[in-house]
Symmetry: C2
Subunit: 331 residues, 2 copies
Amino acid sequence: MSLEEVARRAGVSTATVSRVLNNLDVVKPSTRARVLKAIAELNYHPNLHARTLAGGRSNTIGMIASNLENPFFFDVFRALDSEARAHGYEVVVAHTDYDPERLVRSVRLMIGRRVAGLAVVVSEMDASLINELRAARTPCVFYDVGRPQERMANIRVNYRRGIERLVEYLHDLGHRRLAFVGHHSTLGPTSEREIAFLDTVKRFPEMEWRTQADRDSFEGGRLAALRILSGGFQPTAIICVNDIMAVGVLRALRDRGLRIPEDVSVTGFDNIRLAEYCEPPLTTVHIPRDEIGRLAFAALVPDRDLPNVAGQEIVLEPEVVLRASTARART
Amino acid sequence: MSLEEVARRAGVSTATVSRVLNNLDVVKPSTRARVLKAIAELNYHPNLHARTLAGGRSNTIGMIASNLENPFFFDVFRALDSEARAHGYEVVVAHTDYDPERLVRSVRLMIGRRVAGLAVVVSEMDASLINELRAARTPCVFYDVGRPQERMANIRVNYRRGIERLVEYLHDLGHRRLAFVGHHSTLGPTSEREIAFLDTVKRFPEMEWRTQADRDSFEGGRLAALRILSGGFQPTAIICVNDIMAVGVLRALRDRGLRIPEDVSVTGFDNIRLAEYCEPPLTTVHIPRDEIGRLAFAALVPDRDLPNVAGQEIVLEPEVVLRASTARART
DNA sequence: TTGAAAGCGGTACCAG
DNA sequence: CTGGTACCGCTTTCAA
């Protein structure tokens, strides 16, 4: 069922129906009423594809995330979505599960949908994909990846600072054997996070350390921790790349009969809700997901009363949140 | 940039470009190669709106969930998405946050997108919305809501059975004072879940009980539990409508100085991953999200090698999973 | 205030 | 094997 049927039923032209649909207040009230009536009677729903095609512009925004199951990503989505809806946009999300092929597919899909803007919140993104997006002239905002350029904004968090604070804090508590648990895209010679960790621990002469990576999940955290412990290394504290993995680490530690924080201190990163609800509550680093979501929208849809951040780079400062999962190292 | 530009550059007609795009192997290899070259050079991406409009069919499936942040919903999404992609479909999700208005908007949006099918996984759905979907002739599958009819399948879980098992199990352990913690759409005189709980506890003469509801979140569980405890009622066990809320209950209990399970037993529902990773691990009821997701796809897209479930009602049997959050009641 | 008609970017049928 | 072309359903001038 289409505009035309509605038009016929209301005894007007399709142009007029289109006008009432778009609230152009040039339509005579009585005509408008008749059209509305026809729409209701026919249970008419405009075809959005035809609309965007004819209109030449889309009011949907895309978001691509590595792991929507991790509340960090979901919180960013929620903030973006809420902001978007408040401004008359819809957002459609894609979840890549850290799979590069799914990333490529998702990007192409978004371009094919001619989204008004695209928020890319993934760990790894190669230059060619970014070029594809630029060539398609899609306004983009990247989280933690790429460099700012025309129509491409960047939001990042000063991870290095967060990690530094954590390491310094643990050092002050007397910890001298640290482990770092990451997931595959945060560990590896090129990863900013691993580098930040290594650079920082190396500043303390008496410090020893290990790193391990696994999937970004509870299970991944658990397995990575088990590997560290089985390796003979006995860390007094474990720094985790995020809260999810930290929760997995807690379980591994307990299964080995270790108490937290008496035997081993554990830290997370992100400060998701769960960090307050697990046992013990996690010492972590707060990342303002709400702000990231809001900034992302502002970067994609320039608006008079929104900060102008299109094409810019924004760096957010993280903040350590102390809770019960860390304590002085046993002497 | 459009088909036409590609056609011009390759020196062929738009029809031919369309053919190579759709892999119709009637195109001469050499022509095909030229077209492919033009496509690559122009960084051409077909406009999906034009495609669905012209093609008259969509290969995207919609899913609407009350709370994607709750891993229960996300797991269903993941299974549906995975199945869909394996069959050449995409799925777009909407998250209503239990807001009826957002539900209506989402449904209309999905109809407007002319999705090939719609999976509705929400708690409350009034008849008029279902009628709207039927009138739009959108194939649907509902989880836990509505009745099967033409083009509308239903998947449900035998909650009553799950609750019964839990109550019987706790009764066997000597518990005589039970509390039920639900969220707003699972508590209330019309809710199947509350009714199941009440019917079951009433079968045991010496049983006392209370119910409380709050938001579907850790925080909601915590607050509901606090209200129960402040009310002077001292439950020896708390049954929660899902694992998320149970985790919140655990925190409330601990904050009150109560040990789990020594002082109070707690049960969840769903058996999400977190149930194994919280402390103590939760006794819960397993709901097969993977199967729900797969069945949902099968219900929407009839396929020769998929079970034929379109328009049917499917009831899944839940299964109790015993873990460390429950124990014999103190005497 | 309303209608006619030219697209928007594809698909698919019909010829050649 | 390839091209011409009539739509798909809606928006948007341009005229009336």
